[in-house]
Symmetry: D2
Subunit: 92 residues, 4 copies
């Protein structure tokens, strides 16, 4: 991963962790359930964006490398990983 | 929310926050992108379960109360909130 | 379900079925895979809206009835159905 | 797309279209709302599998071709399409 992307992704993940701790505090302070759910959904949307960015970076580095390489098994492995990520996403 | 549910939900949220900080460390240590994405997806699955539990508790308390009450506007408000939660979920 | 809602939902479902048959034709005519996927995703978005409308109608009829009724088991059943719908949605 | 995959995908799409028309009949016959929603969710799960198969085929043909090719713009286009599919999926 490029250093720039890396720093951005780390920052966004730490901000998500802070957000989730904030939701724990909301629950502790008996905030309204629906507001708690909305905040959880906001976190899920943020995580969607982060994993999209990681995937995008991955395709522009490892996937291109693997397909350019001569190792056909490696190429197959890399493509099936993308497929798996998409499959799991369909179950979230 | 019942005290028991509250404690469990807070614990689970704190555990998710810890998991997300762990993912930030994985990125920092240049772990493989696909493993990072799998961990993000695991967090999203955990958040799905937490919001389901909050929703379930909410229906067994506020929703029942509102529908039993005589305030028709309040009842409408509560049902439309459930609808909204379901709608946003459809966009995640 | 109100007759008006019923007619609208039936129309929308038939239109979705037509859309899906159209996608089958696209595949038969060797249209570009990504365009096929986009059309499938459009159908999924349409189905989200339809199930949201069915759920909304359901809450304004059966759920209200069950909660107003005196049968506590029935009430529990109805709420757990909403929960299940939400849970399955989280796996799609 | 390979002829074999093509035939299978067309069959599955036609079966989904039949399923959706069946759901329209369920609504017409006043079947229970929650059963209708479960059937819609079953269709959505089937569509997830179909689009996964289309994506998988696409990666093993067009994506490999584009990355092996020398046209850098084409390569970029193909990867950004995969990204878009993943992004839209995150909003369904």
């Amino acid at each position: 991963m490029k250093e720039e992307s890396k720093a951005e992704i780390i920052n966004r993940l730490r901000s998500v962790a802070g957000h989730v701790n904030g939701i724990a505090r909301m629950v502790d302070e008996d905030k309204y359930c629906i507001d708690v759910i909305h905040q959880i959904q906001a976190v899920q949307a943020a995580l969607n964006k982060i994993s999209l960015k990681v995937l995008d970076d991955h395709m522009h580095t490892c996937v291109i490398e693997a397909i350019e390489g001569e190792d056909l098994e490696e190429r197959e492995r890399v493509l099936s990983e993308i497929r798996d990520v998409f499959e799991v996403r369909g179950k979230l």
